[in-house]
Amino acid sequence: MRILAVDDDPIILELLGQFVEIIGTHELTTADSALDALEVLGDPETGPIDCFMLDIQMPGMDGIELAKRIRETSRHSDTPILMLTAMSDKRYIDGAFAAGATDYVTKPFEIAELTSRIKMVEGLAQDRQLRTKKIFAAKSVADQTSHVELFEPISIYDVDNVIEYTAMENYVAQLSRSALFGSTTFAFTIREIDAFHAALSAFEFYSLISDVAEVLSDTLVGHQFLMSYAGNGTFVCITESGWRPDMRGLMDQVNFELSQTELFDNHGERIHPRVSAGAAVRLIWKSGSSVMDALAQAHSSAEEASLAHTRSLTNFWDVDQRA
């Protein structure tokens, strides 16, 4: 794996160099500023980069802005980005994830932590290479757009506060006990997503997911949150701010905004997606795997609400008509 590490402290770059040397077959390129890194990336002689390691606080352009700039390039729209953060950078972590970071590792480094992050990133980089190969293979054979599985998390770009699902899992896994105190997770599911998936092309389906993500993001604006598309029409959100969302009110607001947004398929037919909201699950007193369970609980409750809504359309006498 080819890594580009960017840090204004030469000691950190040397440490990373030494570390990468002992853990195996990786190759490290370094840059001592964001501008230097952009120059490296702009150089046609620079080979492909499989992973970025970015310091957050740097003079001039910081690591968050650099992550944004990297994400804007089609070549690195989903290349793993690992932020190198000091304890005093904790306040910037949300911004880093929102800018496109995949995960973060805290300075001073601990070998076990650094190794596990690199392994995780290596897995992502391999998946990414495989995906790219598949897309090229499909294009060369039939020049068709790639297939999108219904249950597959999709990366959505350029929508505020929307991050990749892996980044969401990493973010939640690293929330501190004090952050968990004010955190709540909740989810929305696009109703009858299987019917949309069956009727639309891969590109149309991706566009639908992106458009709904944009409406959700716009509706939640003003609140601190991060959101991710987890597959099967479900968007999982997390807020750390102590905000306790009113799910029914939010759902009505989102559906109102969707009704005001004109969405069309490739044949010019208008489509009318609507969402159901699940329960808001607080993360207080939770730790380890139970935090992930809470995320799954929020996820499944939104999907159940969506199914219940569909059932209620065919069984009018069903009393449980929430959502």
């Binding site: 030469p10 000691i11 950190i12 040397e14 040397e21 002992i22 003079p59 190198l84 001073p108 070998i111």
Partner: protein, 119 residues
């Protein structure tokens, strides 16, 4: 686990370089501290405090990985005091709190002690 990082091959060379840089860095911190203390304007005071904070941030980030845990923690403590001041209600006043200067002074003394111990 941090100790394990100090067992990396080649770590002695990096520690040596860190100590050489620490000698320059402590001088820079001290001069930023003095300039902030003598500063007459908000801009002069805050930019010097921010300059000291940026150097402390670098020391806090690497010292612990090289076996200088105490120095790293002291740098972080000092850095956070400056960050809190610059984000606090007194940041738009042309005042440099004596507590900040005293904590920078103690940190510079700790750096000197560390450098002497390694010599």
């Amino acid at each position: 686990m941090t100790k394990v990082m100090t067992e990396l091959p080649g770590i002695d060379r990096i520690r040596k370089r860190f100590l050489e840089m620490l000698s320059e860095r402590q001088t820079q911190i001290a001069s930023h501290g003095l300039a902030a203390w003598d500063g007459k304007t908000v801009e002069e005071i805050n930019s010097n405090l921010a300059g000291a904070q940026a150097i402390l941030h670098q020391i806090a980030g690497s010292a612990g990985s090289l076996g200088f845990e105490e120095l790293g923690q002291a740098a972080r403590g000092c850095e956070m005091r400056i960050v809190d001041h610059l984000a606090g209600p007194d940041a738009d006043l042309a005042i440099c709190p004596v507590e900040l200067i005293s904590s920078l002074d103690s940190f510079v003394a700790a750096c000197r002690k560390q450098i002497e111990a390694a010599a």
